[in-house]
Symmetry: C2
Subunit: 197 residues, 2 copies
DNA sequence: CCTAAGATGGCAGTCACTGCCACTTAGACA
DNA sequence: TGTCTAAGTGGCAGTGACTGCCATCTTAGG
């Protein structure tokens, strides 16, 4: 029950159109920048009408964050599956790494660098982080944290992890994995449930 | 050397125009919502041309965040003035509270509620948080933290404080001050410089 | 008082995004 | 297999944020 085989032809066409539009858009974003690329250009490059681009991706930003829902769903699923005997913080980190595995496509590194350059996209990224945050809160509640504690711990966690991500471009001489490790080490000092039971 | 007395008439006019535009905009935002208010309406209500509104506030969002720079500058200044003998976390909290004191205008509570309702504005808020984050990083570096540690601690701090702010509307039965207190208590477990010296 | 800098308003243009409608095509069912 | 229906596409017109340009007016300062 992994990838539902899009049985109907219509769905396959739809997926292909989406993929072509995304590919054309990414190509243009990486060469020209996000703001300098118009939806009209993207549509022309993908061989569809601008109206069609908007039908698949209501906002231009969605062409960059087209896997937003997939990412969030994945994170939530991984957290739900986490074995109960695993420590809370360790489970969070494991789920995070599992989700990031989605991103290992060829051009995704370049896409991340694009994100660092464009303030518009960084703001949209905040929406993604907010959804991750919500998933983390849900998980912490299953581990017995009350609403306030779950919210605060999730905030500190997402904040430190976000900082680690920023460090990847800020201090590139250190490998990404070590930035995350440093964040986790720092967070370990916090009082994670259910240790306080 | 606190508030430079805007000597010239031109500056006073400019400030008055700004204030009138902001007042008109807030009035409309609160009654109609942000997205439902056009810049043309704001200009009409303020008695100026739309072009003039854009000259004072390049983006419509800036009408909500018109004190962005003031807030960030204030936070940075308060952190710089913080007495060296005060603990790092305590200094951060004190500076934060000092900055929030700016917001005690009459309609600012309503404005905060507006912010909770409009996703567009929440994203812009992320930019403000990023600037606060940068100020916190600078401060932590003066306390001897290296770049990595400063970034991570600032991330955790901003994350937990942001969560506390969210809790103000999420759990309104608890007074705001206690949410912040809970965040601080949680953060106290972290290894703040220069305690590790 | 005179000139230069700064501020405003209007105009035209770009671009993201939307509603509407007409047309084509794939799925479903007789 | 033919037909009806729903989904997908494209074009068109319109709104609203934002920008560059220029003509006009006001203030600063000698």
């Amino acid at each position: 029950m992994s990838t539902e085989p899009r049985s109907t032809l219509r769905d396959r066409n739809r997926a292909r159109a989406r993929a072509e539009i995304v590919a054309a858009a990414h190509q243009l974003f990486l060469t020209q920048g996000f703001g300098e690329t118009s939806v009209e250009q993207i549509a022309a490059a993908a061989g569809v009408a601008p109206r069609t681009v908007f039908r698949h991706f209501p906002r231009k930003e969605d062409l960059v964050f087209h896997r937003h829902a997939e990412h969030v769903g994945r994170l939530a699923a991984l957290l739900e599956e986490a074995p109960a005997e695993r420590g809370t913080l360790d489970a969070l980190v494991a789920a995070l790494l599992g989700m990031l595995r989605l991103d290992e496509g060829p051009s995704d590194g370049a896409m991340l660098r694009l994100l660092d350059r464009e303030p518009e996209l960084q703001r949209r990224d905040a929406a993604l982080v907010a959804d991750h945050h919500a998933a983390v809160v849900t998980f912490l509640r299953t581990r017995g944290a009350d609403a306030q504690r779950a919210e605060l711990l999730a905030g500190a966690f997402m904040g430190a992890v976000g900082a680690a991500r920023r460090l990847v471009t800020l201090a590139p001489e250190i490998p990404p994995r070590e930035h995350l490790a440093a964040a986790v080490e720092l967070l370990r000092a916090l009082d994670w449930p259910p240790s306080s039971v």
